[in-house]
């Protein structure tokens, strides 16, 4: 065996793997209930993923996974890290900390900072803050502003931003009102080989209400926005993408109508991808029934039928990926009258637990979970991806799927605790997190 001569840095033994094993018989299917495996790593890269004990190779560092679930690290293409400018909500160090403990290896952060990320110096500052605080990752990939100051009036210097390290472009937080300008932005970004990410929300149809127009808003008398405000903009975007033959990525899709339009567009061959968020798969407008501003988010939490449509869409790939839309806000900003509160949910700490629970109860197939959190976002945005094939970056998580924990100020790593899940008990926590073969989270002692 040629591998025998290779020096192994790390071997994690006895992890529970629910996926198929590559290089171990072609087309071999995943075993139901999973199987115990060993992960072998050299120089930060995967050497092999093999049935436990099947390869007699010793590594410099031997770790016992103790039957914990093995997952590739997740990628989150939609977070708000608030630095520069609003470090009291979150900063790059605390946000990446929440990502590391939440199981994420790659993070794309939005441009609506203060100042806006519309110049190379802001991008470079973000990258520098990330390198200083978490030198071994999680890796930060800033998203550049689509328009200067996110004002929707002039294009941002996208070539300069791309050169500085921006991975994509978006006006998230302040959708571009002018369809003309949005078209030009898509064309300009396409020349640079970058994807435009759109926050789909009709700018004139009850914008930023943060509450679904429906039974609950009607009962409570809360200003609200109908789901068509999102779907109208989804329709605009996929029609533009088809007409321009340019790619588009749709952020935080929340409703059945958007799913139907994306399905329509994909059937026509449009280069469209879409994300949805854990909260749109698990929570409904009823969360706001007690006027709780922690449930105020844009787009708003919808109804059961939308959850069902999104789960189907994730399973069949119509919705390609998951993202958190991590939107931290300080307690004093959220503890106000519902209509005064800012929109957003802090999501990095809870995303893995809430979505793995969907896998555990059979609502989301394991393959779709892995695709939505890893391969789909990494391929779309050109990010490091671990499929456990030899040579892949050794980014993976050992996950204790039975560990119960309460969401509170102690357990959350994000500076901001604005989540409707606050105070609830979740199942499943990251035991250890390896990035490029280095353990960034966890304290697993060497095994036998």
């Amino acid at each position: 065996m040629p591998e025998k001569q290779k020096k192994l840095d790390l071997a994690v033994r006895g992890a529970l793997w629910f996926g198929p094993l590559k290089g171990d018989g072609k087309g071999k299917k995943a075993k139901k209930g999973g199987q115990l495996v060993d992960v072998l790593v050299s120089k930060g890269k995967i050497v092999a993923l093999t049935p436990a004990g099947s390869l007699d190779m010793r590594a410099e560092k031997e770790l016992d996974a103790g039957g914990k679930v093995l997952l590739p690290s997740l990628t989150d293409v939609h977070v708000h890290l608030r630095e520069p400018g609003q470090e009291y909500k979150e900063d790059i160090a605390s946000g990446l900390g929440a990502a590391a403990f939440g199981g994420f290896s790659n993070i794309l952060c939005m441009a609506n900072t203060k100042p806006v990320n519309d110049t190379a110096s802001v991008t470079e500052f973000m990258l520098e803050q990330a390198r200083k605080s978490w030198p071994n990752g999680p890796r930060l990939f800033p998203i550049g502003a689509l328009t200067k100051g996110l004002k929707g009036q002039e294009l941002a210097p996208m070539a300069e931003l791309a050169k500085a390290g921006c991975a994509a472009f978006s006006n998230d937080g302040r959708p571009v009102e002018s369809t003309e300008l949005f078209r030009r932005a898509m064309e300009y970004a396409q020349d640079l080989g970058k994807i435009v990410i759109d926050h789909c929300e009709d700018p004139f149809l009850a914008p930023a209400a943060g509450m679904n127009e429906g039974e609950v808003s009607s009962r409570l008398g809360l200003p609200a926005q109908p789901d068509v405000a999102e779907a109208i903009q989804v329709a605009r975007d996929v029609l533009l993408a088809e007409y321009l033959n340019a790619p588009i990525h749709l952020a935080h899709v929340s409703c059945e109508k958007s799913v139907a339009l994306i399905r329509f567009a994909k059937a026509r061959g449009v280069d469209v991808t879409a994300e949805t968020c854990p909260h749109y798969l698990t929570l409904t407008e009823e969360e706001a029934a007690g006027f709780s501003a922690s449930a105020k988010v844009s787009p708003p939490l919808r109804v059961k039928a939308d959850i069902d449509a999104l789960l189907d869409a994730l399973a069949d790939g119509t919705v390609d990926m998951l993202a958190t839309d991590h939107a931290p806000h300080a307690a004093h900003e959220k503890e106000v009258e519902f209509d005064q509160a800012p929109c957003g949910i802090s999501g990095l700490d809870t995303a893995l637990a809430t979505t793995w629970e969907l896998v555990r109860v059979g609502k989301l197939p394991f393959d779709a979970f892995v695709r939505a959190w890893t391969s789909a976002p990494c391929k779309r945005f050109g990010l490091p991806l671990n499929t456990f094939a030899p040579g892949d970056p050794a980014d993976f998580v050992l996950y204790d799927q039975d560990a119960a924990w309460t969401v509170n100020a102690e357990t959350m790593k994000s500076k901001s605790k604005n989540t409707p899940l606050y105070g609830r008990t979740l199942r499943g926590r990251v035991s250890a997190h390896f990035l490029a073969g280095k353990m960034v989270v966890g304290s697993i002692s060497p095994g036998a």
């Binding site: 808003s217 009607s218 409570l220 008398g221 009258e337």
Partner: protein
């Protein structure tokens, strides 16, 4: 009846028996209000803060008078004269008020849910005097007292038409709940632009034509039309609105005999209600105001003495029955 609620946030908290108890207590205070000396010492030594973060004349005066007639000390706190205008958050206002240790707070606020927000943070009773578009329970209770007197307490088989800007109306939301609880049927009439979404989940019938909507109803409750609805693009102008949805005496020809007209005030004469009709015998608008004081006396009494089981409306008064 031992009163078990700390706060009155909306009528949805109340059972039909509790509502009847409030109305009976209010009827008693109504009698006191007709005496030459209208003051009883029931709430002597208790303090009530009237916290009005939104302009209001009649509701505030009504609560103020109700408190004073029960010998409570009332303190007015308005947005313009309060630290709210200086950017203080509602939470900090709440904590400040709590530190002053009042027995009750009456709150009027422009945001739906503001009364609940306060109630969750305060130990004293919170009485909702209108929060955003959400609820106005004391208005619904005074409307119920007015109709109860008219109908001798019998709401069964009666139909009430609520006419006007339902979408933005806390009065409509609370009245739909309360009238339904008491056994009446509720019908709504408004242009679709002023109706809330998902009315299929409300216990109401919707009739968009005013003439048809008035057929066989026992009461019509007109709502005030806020003039800013026109600027918001919800209606073309007041003239067209008045012609299509303004209630006139002719509309009552199709109503049930003895149909009465209510309005929470202040009225826009010639817009949502014809001027003649507002002054007619069918109009109970001024009786609503009178009943408002009695209902608020009953509520202050029940909520502020809930921990004193032997309290009676005239406890320690020494006044003859």
């Amino acid at each position: 009846m031992q009163w078990k609620h700390k706060d009155l946030l909306d009528v949805s908290q109340l059972s039909a028996d509790e509502v009847r108890h409030i109305l009976a207590t209010a009827a008693y205070f109504r009698e006191i209000n007709s005496r030459p000396v209208k003051k009883v010492p029931t709430l002597k030594g208790r303090s009530v803060v009237l916290f009005f973060a939104e302009p209001s004349t009649r509701t505030k005066t009504s609560f103020d008078m109700a408190g004073k007639r029960l010998s409570a000390d009332t303190f007015a706190l308005q947005k313009s004269g309060s630290s709210l205008a200086k950017g203080e958050t509602l939470k900090d206002t709440a904590l400040t008020l709590q530190a002053m240790n009042p027995d009750g707070i009456v709150i009027r606020h422009g945001s739906s849910g503001a009364a609940q927000f306060l109630a969750e943070r305060l130990e004293c009773s919170v009485i909702n005097a209108g929060d955003g578009r959400h609820a106005h329970p004391t208005q619904a209770l005074l409307d119920a007292l007015t109709l109860s007197r008219r109908w001798k307490g019998d709401f069964a088989g009666k139909t009430v038409l609520i006419l006007g800007d339902i979408a933005h109306s806390r009065v409509a939301r609370s009245n739909v709940l309360l009238l339904t609880l008491l056994g009446a049927k509720v019908r709504l009439c408004a242009p679709r632009t002023l109706l809330p979404p998902r009315l299929d989940t409300w216990p109401v019938e919707v009739v968009s034509d005013l003439k048809q909507a008035c057929r066989d109803v026992d009461s019509v409750m007109c709502l005030r039309l806020q003039l800013e609805r026109q600027q918001a693009g919800l209606l073309p102008d007041l003239r067209e609105y008045a012609r299509t949805f303004g209630l006139c005496e002719t509309h009552l020809l199709d109503a049930a005999p003895g149909c009465c007209v209510l309005h929470p005030g202040p009225i826009n004469r010639g817009v949502e209600i014809g001027s003649d009709l507002a002054d007619s015998a069918e109009s109970l608008i001024l009786e609503q105001v009178e009943n408002g004081v009695a209902v608020r006396m009953a509520l202050l009494f029940l909520y502020l003495t809930r921990k004193s089981p032997d309290a009676s409306p005239v406890a320690q008064s020494g006044m003859p029955e």
